[in-house]
Point group: D2
């Protein structure tokens, strides 16, 4: 690997970019970056300018000689890249507002990566990520693609299964959160423990062992979770506790997102309450983002502002930058990533993508063979992975029947007329980003299907 | 196999018994039965007397010399039996009323074999069926056990997995219904078609082929289902249609019970409506049964009355008697049964029970290797089988955490406080039949948990 | 299926054809054939004429009005065929002589379907069978292909895996032999027993059950095999007994061909002895065949001559004709066939070909799910199937390294210099029929590799 | 883990002990050992004294305060042990002489870990290792068992499968050899490369990647192996090259022991030659060992003598000591070990033992998920693992039929009369160490079976 590293960030205008810059600055001695290219699309141009200048200020303040390039020309940026990170959001936060509000208008879960929302985020993102991969094959065939565009697991699966590109690692900050909070619950440091995660993105469990004795301390942590404050729930997840007896039988710790599956009733009620009272998460984030960009505009700001932490993606930069540096230096770091299974989770096919404890080095991720899961978790996993595969098949082929299959099997969606209606409204609402479903959408429009939720409908009417 | 066949029916006081008698009478020339033993328990003594006399009248009218023995002594009956059929209902219809009403009182699906109701039917039945198997090992080790006690698939799995008894076939009348109704939809007779079923009890799909050309005619039948009246939905299932586009993608035909999964919204609404208006299915059945037993009392009635057909279990006798005669005569008949997988449904473990097209003969069921299912159906199957395994583990060990796992993964149950409450109320409501959960139930009673549904609570207060 | 059946036999000039005719005549009432087309190639023209006339005489003598067409034009024959049977031998018996003699000249097993011989028979046959399948897709897309060209399992696998043609059944007469001889060993008739076969072509085991009691009687038969004369070994296999203790542990009965694997030493010694003394099996068969064709020339002969039985393929016609008639009439007959696994043998992949007890009807073969095998047999099976897959990959791609892999893993071949030399000599010897290996063969010829065995070398020099 | 480490070495009188001591001395700063217990049996007492004193001298010379205890009382030694290493040889080198000579006397491969010899080494060792495990459960339940007693993979499998002890790691020095020799062939250091091994003990393959670019460099190394001298073949394996075309198709590098499978002819001829000329490897080793013990007697010798390297087990100490220190310090070192599969080699069952690249730390080995192997290697692996399972089943149950199954499926054994005779002679020859086969051996003795090989027979007659 050449010494002068070129990093390309697609979706560079994101409010997360300063966090990423901070991560690279912190690790500059390990990996001397030469140039960073922030890429965005026409609609994101203004944000790109703001955050791009902010990024350059951060580097200038660091004393390292790194040039931040801003461009709307993806191909120019990709040329000879070493690492490509993807953090774009097709349709921006307005699309997420629709993903959340349209299901909730029918009393069903509307969430960014779960339920109907997560499915449509995949529908919109898959065509774009596959076109990026095609560009990479041509312009930077030796680069690594580090994806944190959600739904991160499905997007990684699309890259490998349909893009036939293996130099990819999918990332998520959830496992980092658990590893940062849990050790102290049992008066340990992270170094005292060995973590083994297995499952899917936003749907994994972990076991924890004492690194000195090899003893399984998972039940100790579970116990501590119920006697002490648990702060490991990501900011964007409502904090309702799991049933302790269930975890004691499971002998594993679920991730925060399992709340949508293990405490469905409370999560749904909470979202409906927010929907009616203060607007959905996307609407809240939109405000946070606007405030952030106001801050970023300050020509004197040259470091990550504290407000960014509230945004919800804490630890992303650590996960992402550490992954990149681990590849660069063959560090063999333990990181939980989405990667090809290869048997690590033997309850799922070898060739699908799982999120699993891996050692990351010069060959990418070497997943740790976790072994078979208990029945309940095995069943969940097999359901969710097959749901993902249905989503991807529909995302690639635009098969409406397959979309219905995905909706039906998705545990967050109550099948029936309303579910079908949510599917239809979301197709119409996201028309601009769903070329694969063009014919079906036109058919639906002819049928006169309209969007019930006012906010979502108005966004559509404004072409947003 | 000896020529003078001894049949034992456990739960002999059931209203279905005349149907079973009719089936045996119809097949007497193929299998000359010597004696039939109808076994029941103290609580069912009166019904046993009524239906037992009716059964004897039916045989007498047939002209065949068959003696119907009535007994409350199971072990006496099992001695040297050739075939043992099980159609008992632990806790009788009152238990089913609780299974249905308690979940519905929290707005969740209450159904005999699905959701919380099906789980508790398994919890009550497993200890009893395992004790029957122990008796059989001692008293009739060469007999075949033909189970139609619901949930038939899980009970068959319990018999094999925990009872270590392989001479068992689990039955259900649902596939028979499909095969009786569908051929005419495409102007064929059953002989013109080859059916391949695969899945689990009350959760299977089928494909249909032209027996003359080998051509797959499944899509033709699907098409016909939407242009003609479909009468293949069992009497106890509300008839809401599947989404045609979904079936066209699936290229298989789901069973009637899939409505609970594919049209969840409508099925739940329908059940809640009935719950509020006319009482649940069990309450309706109870009335039908009472009328039936009034009929059975008539000393002149010596054949199956028409009213029995309304009861909901049509074709059971055909499936059961045909299975027994096929074993007896090594007939190799195509019957859809619950049996050990052995690879027939390769998406599930070899050693679990599946419901699958089989050829039934002297060795029991020879399942037809169906091959892998499409992703959506594979995911469903893997979920449901693992849910079943959790239920059985809890049923055998009385592990409350495992019961919570089963409730959480069950697609009919919305996880959360209400789900846990339903679990707790059902444990209390069925206390008499759940020795394995004794300690937990006492704990719950100490906590003062009471049953919200009036009807169910009153049944409990009356010790019913 | 239309009423006037057209049968096409590729390799129609084979000495087996009269046996096939006899089988069809015997079953004419069940399946009224209209026309039979015997196809052969230029080199087989004379034999085709002789056996074709004989075939017509047989039909004429039967009183049925069936026309036997003779042609060298395969495409003309295939047009609108209903059933295509393949019994051709690429390179005729001379090729088999080379397959047998060249390995034996290095002291290694030379046999038609095992070891190096079987591999090369596959190498020669695969390109031809795939071109037949291409013709069928065009000319008779609804026909069934009934293959008995050896190695029958590998050829069936090639048809499905590389030809993407599923309407195929691979046949072998070995299981029929076992089922005809074994019952009498325990004083039973075949109707008293249920047979379950599983494995691969020429490499399967079976279990036997009493059809009246379901009892496993395999050990009884094993016992009887050692106290009575066993005549179930095919004529072409030297009759050395298996070790009884091994079979008692196995609790299954191996097929005759397992002798090459379970009594390797004796089988090899026997073949070497024959090689040195009287010539290999192919040379013996060649003489038998010549005598047969002399008989066939007799214009008065209008039925299968007794001498044909000595030829080694007894029961082929029964297996083949019964298979065809079972498809035609959806008879659901138990036949042991090579077909897609679909889970029937769960120790092998779902999508590979296995030889397994099936019920054959209008949809082709419905394999019986056999369940997992004991460790030793599982290991053997997995080895052999992977060996077959290597052979096919080499056969399709002409990859010399893959041919070496196949030779190395084949249990009949002692790896090393001699094995490589045998591979090289066979490549040269069969040059005419191995277009896929063209480049490698030219390279070998340049290296000056010559054939050591005199007989084989002379055949090559004569262009035979 | 407590700070004062207690190491127990069973088979402490081995000539390898000084190498182990050297490894611990080199790593003392990382892991401060308090006491080392060398355990042996009565027959090894003299050697234990010699090597034990030598070991103490080595520690004294090192300047570290470590006490070497010598004992014949295994239970005394095991009490509160932290690490138990096993390097014992049941029956000493005399047993190995029989393992080698008896098969060779029938012209079949006689080798320590392959063929009949390897099977009998397992037969003798399994009962002993299982009794050690029973002691450990009682006396040091938190200790780690580091096994290098051969056949290392099978013994590790026995410990986990039949001993139900998971805190075990099986070791072998073969992978270390490859990693020490290969990098220089392509002008790299080990740090420049990432190694991935997968397979079974003495039967694994590896792939190599450039740690800077992630590029697969396996074919480069294969190429270099044929242009440069390969010194990576262990001293005890005759150095015949693999066929290059085969490796190029395989795209992996086999281990040295694959020579017995890929160049069977040459390996067997070489062994027969040695057998006839200079005696087998065991006899050569015996001489080397005698010389070594003469050296060890020298009261001035306080470091590992150069002659030990010739013994054949080079790098053992590195593998063993590094494994122990990696556990002790949770180092996460890449080591190739025998451990429970857990999906790492998805072609084999999750619960069997594989030899695979792992990261070794406080929880033992975390195997890297390797993914599926190509067909040929998959077939080999599945064969060999099932052979191992047969061997272990026979070793535990003393089932002669299962021993025959193992002999038949073992690729190094030519099945038939001679194979059975070899089995019988080895049973008799090792009578003293095979209590599980007692009845069968007595039966064989009654039949008058005698040992053909003079040397082996004389050893037996002398009770050695």
């Amino acid at each position: 690997m050449k010494k002068s590293v070129k990093i390309v960030t697609i979706g560079g205008g994101s409010s997360y970019t300063p966090e990423l810059m901070e991560g690279f600055i912190k690790r500059y001695e390990e990996m001397p970056i030469k140039e960073i290219w922030l890429v965005d699309i026409e609609e994101g141009k203004e944000k790109l300018e703001i955050v791009g200048k902010m990024a350059q200020r951060m580097w200038d303040a660091s004393g390292y000689d790194v040039k931040v390039h801003l461009t709307l020309n993806r191909r120019e940026a990709l040329k000879d890249a070493d690492f490509v990170t993807t953090q774009f959001r097709v349709g921006l936060l307005n699309a997420r507002i629709k993903d959340e509000r349209i299901p909730l208008s029918y009393g069903q879960l509307g969430q960014e990566t779960n339920g109907a929302g997560g499915i449509f985020k995949a529908f919109r993102t898959v065509p774009v990520i596959l076109s990026i991969v095609e560009d990479m094959k041509e312009l930077c065939p030796h680069a690594w693609l580090i994806n944190f565009t959600n739904p991160s697991g499905m997007i990684t699966e699309a890259i490998i299964r349909y893009g036939h590109w293996d130099r990819v690692i999918g990332l998520c900050n959830v496992p980092v959160g658990a590893m940062m909070k849990e050790p102290q619950l049992i008066n340990k440091s992270l170094d005292d423990l060995v973590y083994k995660f297995a499952g899917l993105n936003h749907f994994h469990w972990h076991k924890v062992f004492d690194s000195h004795t090899g003893e399984d301390v998972t039940l100790k942590i579970i116990d501590a979770l119920y006697t002490q404050d648990d702060e490991s729930v990501p900011a964007n997840i409502f904090d309702v506790p799991y049933f302790k007896e269930q975890l004691e039988t499971m002998k594993m710790i679920p991730c925060g997102y399992h709340r949508y599956y293990y405490r469905e009733q409370e999560m749904l009620n909470h979202l409906i309450e927010e929907y009616n009272a203060i607007g959905t998460r996307a609407e809240q984030v939109k405000e946070v983002e606007e405030r952030l960009f106001e801050l970023y505009k300050d020509p004197h700001l040259d470091h990550k502002p504290e407000e960014l932490a509230k945004r919800g993606g804490a630890h992303y930069s650590d996960a992402a930058c550490e992954t990149i540096v681990s590849i660069f230096n063959n560090k063999n770091t333990h990181i939980v990533v989405s990667t090809k299974n290869n048997g690590a989770v033997p309850d799922l096919p070898d060739d699908c993508v799982v999120e699993v404890s891996s050692h990351v080095g010069g060959c990418g991720a070497l997943p740790i063979a976790f072994g078979p899961l208990p029945n309940a978790e095995k069943g969940w996993l097999q359901l969710m992975k097959n749901m993902e595969l249905c989503v991807l098949e529909a995302a690639v082929n635009g098969d409406y029947g397959m979309a219905l299959e995905a909706f039906t099997i998705n545990p967050q969606i109550v099948s029936g007329e309303n579910a079908k209606r949510i599917l239809d409204e979301l197709l119409i609402a996201h028309k601009k980003y769903l070329p694969q479903f063009k014919d079906k959408i036109e058919e639906l429009e002819k049928e006169g299907i309209t969007i019930k939720d006012n906010v979502a409908r108005e966004l559509c009417e404004q072409g947003l």
